[in-house]
């Protein structure tokens, strides 16, 4: 399991900006914890764990972007938003980031706020908004679902990458001058390719799950408010 770092590591963004984003991330996560508690039932608890494990594994696939020395990887935000909903989904991504920072040294601990803001907050928010809109607009067919998953994954990856560019502009430790546009361009183009890969994986996974166990797809559950099965809450929920 030889992995390369891909989250923002210590020293790339200066302290004050990192602190501001840490506060933003903390507030967003606190809200997600509140909302997520209501969502987490017996079906969602193991699903949340599996989604987090899946994202953890998938983030190990890393594509170096040689031109700028920045690397990109799959984020799994759209998958999480699709299968476990935005609140628990954001928590899943955040858990992955925290564990990676603590035990793999992947992404600086002091930069966790930035990474969580990009991938767990921005990535999930964009993905879920797109999912909510597209699922209403597109036909309710496997193809419609696949397109939804693909587009939301693609766009969320590119937007999350732009989050890094914004943070770099606010508090990059080195003034790149006119080269910032170059950084933005490199990040956008490379994450476009990553987004295509991520879109394909998300679409395949979601469509398969929706075919066999549609009850497991959170985004589809939200569309049908009258859930026929009520599972008694036994434990694991508080």
């Amino acid at each position: 399991m030889e992995a390369l770092a891909m989250h923002i590591s210590n020293g790339i963004i200066n302290g004050p900006v990192a602190a501001v984003f840490a506060v933003i991330a903390l507030a967003a996560m606190a809200y997600c914890v509140m909302r997520g508690r209501q969502d987490l039932d017996d079906r969602l608890a193991p699903m949340a764990g599996l989604v987090a494990a899946f994202i953890f594994a998938v983030q190990m696939l890393n594509f170096p972007i040689f031109t700028a020395g920045v690397s990109g990887h799959l984020l799994g935000g759209a998958l999480a938003a699709m299968l476990v909903g935005p609140w628990v989904g954001a928590l899943c991504v955040a858990v992955v980031l925290v564990v990676q920072a603590l035990v793999f040294g992947d992404g600086g601990v002091a930069m966790l706020g930035l990474n969580i803001t990009n991938m767990a907050v921005i990535g999930i928010a964009v993905a879920y908004l797109l999912i909510a809109v597209l699922l209403r607009v597109l036909p309710r067919t496997p193809a419609g679902l696949a397109v939804t998953a693909f587009v939301s994954a693609l766009v969320s990856v590119v937007v999350a990458a732009m989050g890094f560019v914004l943070q770099y502009q606010l508090g990059g430790t080195t003034d790149l001058g006119g080269n910032l546009a170059g950084l933005a361009g490199t990040m956008a183009v490379s994450h476009l390719f990553i987004g295509i890969g991520e879109g394909l994986i998300t679409a395949t996974t979601v469509v398969t799950v929706a075919k066999v166990r549609p009850d497991l797809v959170y985004a589809l559950r939200a569309l049908k408010p009258a859930a026929p099965v009520t599972v008694p809450t036994v434990g694991g929920v508080r």
Binding site: L50, A53, F54, T174, G177, G182, T204, T208
Partner: protein, 256 residues
């Protein structure tokens, strides 16, 4: 599946650092990293002091330097980014070995490499001396919301399920005449990724229901917690590292 909850980076050993309760180590590591990041980059000596601190803790934890250096390659992409900075940076320029380099860029590169490396070392030391189970116990004792520790517990548990299921599916493909070689096996893998997810979920769901029927309420029983909660003495011992680092950071901030 009962065994093997230790992760790849955990180094089985018995040392003063291994014996410290996990919550103490996590807190010390986070505080140390923040002190490092807050240090002004011009204070070169401060980073030497931090490296010395890391070396002392590594020696106490019986983690050898070679392992630490090998594992540090995780931050290689950012080193590459750092190397590009002196060429891309704006502002005042200086001449180093016949190259026109940006002063700001040079400092920036140093900043990223020094702070990044120290951060990676700190987390590697935590990883080397704490297994994943203890890590979650530590987060739980640091009052991390239960929903987060619960997701983390299942994540680490299901990683093994996922890997095991992927292995089984690969064997199944091979025994049906698939001939995976190099890149070509990617196609078979990609086609089966949805099935992999579903199979892993159904296995994971069974595990979860089995846990519920044995009285799981969202929190692991106390038996599961290997070490007792930290005493104030242990907090004091672990606090030496971040306190020293904080002193260095404060001195550096005053001097520059």
């Amino acid at each position: 599946m009962g065994a093997g909850h230790a992760h790849v980076l955990y180094r089985e050993a018995d040392s003063p650092v291994h014996r410290l309760p996990p919550e103490v180590k996590i807190a010390a590591m986070v505080a140390f990293t923040i002190a490092v990041v807050a240090t002004p980059r011009e204070a070169l000596w401060a980073f030497g002091a931090y490296a010395l601190l890391v070396a002392v803790v590594a020696a106490l934890a019986r983690v050898n330097a070679r392992w630490l250096l090998l594992r540090s390659t995780i931050e290689l992409p950012f080193v590459l980014f750092a190397v590009a900075l002196p060429f891309l940076g704006a502002g005042e320029r200086t001449e180093v070995a016949g190259l026109h380099l940006s002063v700001d860029g040079l400092y920036g590169a140093w900043n990223i490499i020094a702070k990044g490396t120290l951060g990676v070392w700190a987390s590697l030391l935590l990883a080397a001396t704490t297994n994943t189970r203890d890590l979650i116990v530590g987060l739980d004792r640091l009052r991390c919301p239960q929903i987060l520790t619960q997701i983390a517990t299942f994540m680490l548990r299901y990683l093994d399920v996922l890997v095991g299921e992927a292995r089984r599916m690969r064997v199944a493909r091979i025994s049906r005449g698939d001939d995976p070689r190099f890149v070509w096996q990617l196609r078979g893998f990609a086609a089966g990724i949805g099935a992999l997810f579903l199979r892993a979920f159904e296995r994971g769901e069974r595990v979860y229901l089995a846990m519920l029927s044995r009285g799981y309420t969202g929190r692991m029983p106390t038996v599961w917690q290997g070490t007792a909660a930290a005493t104030s003495g242990q907090w004091l011992i672990a606090a030496t590292v971040p306190v020293l680092a904080g002193t260095v950071a404060a001195t550096a901030a005053v001097l520059t």
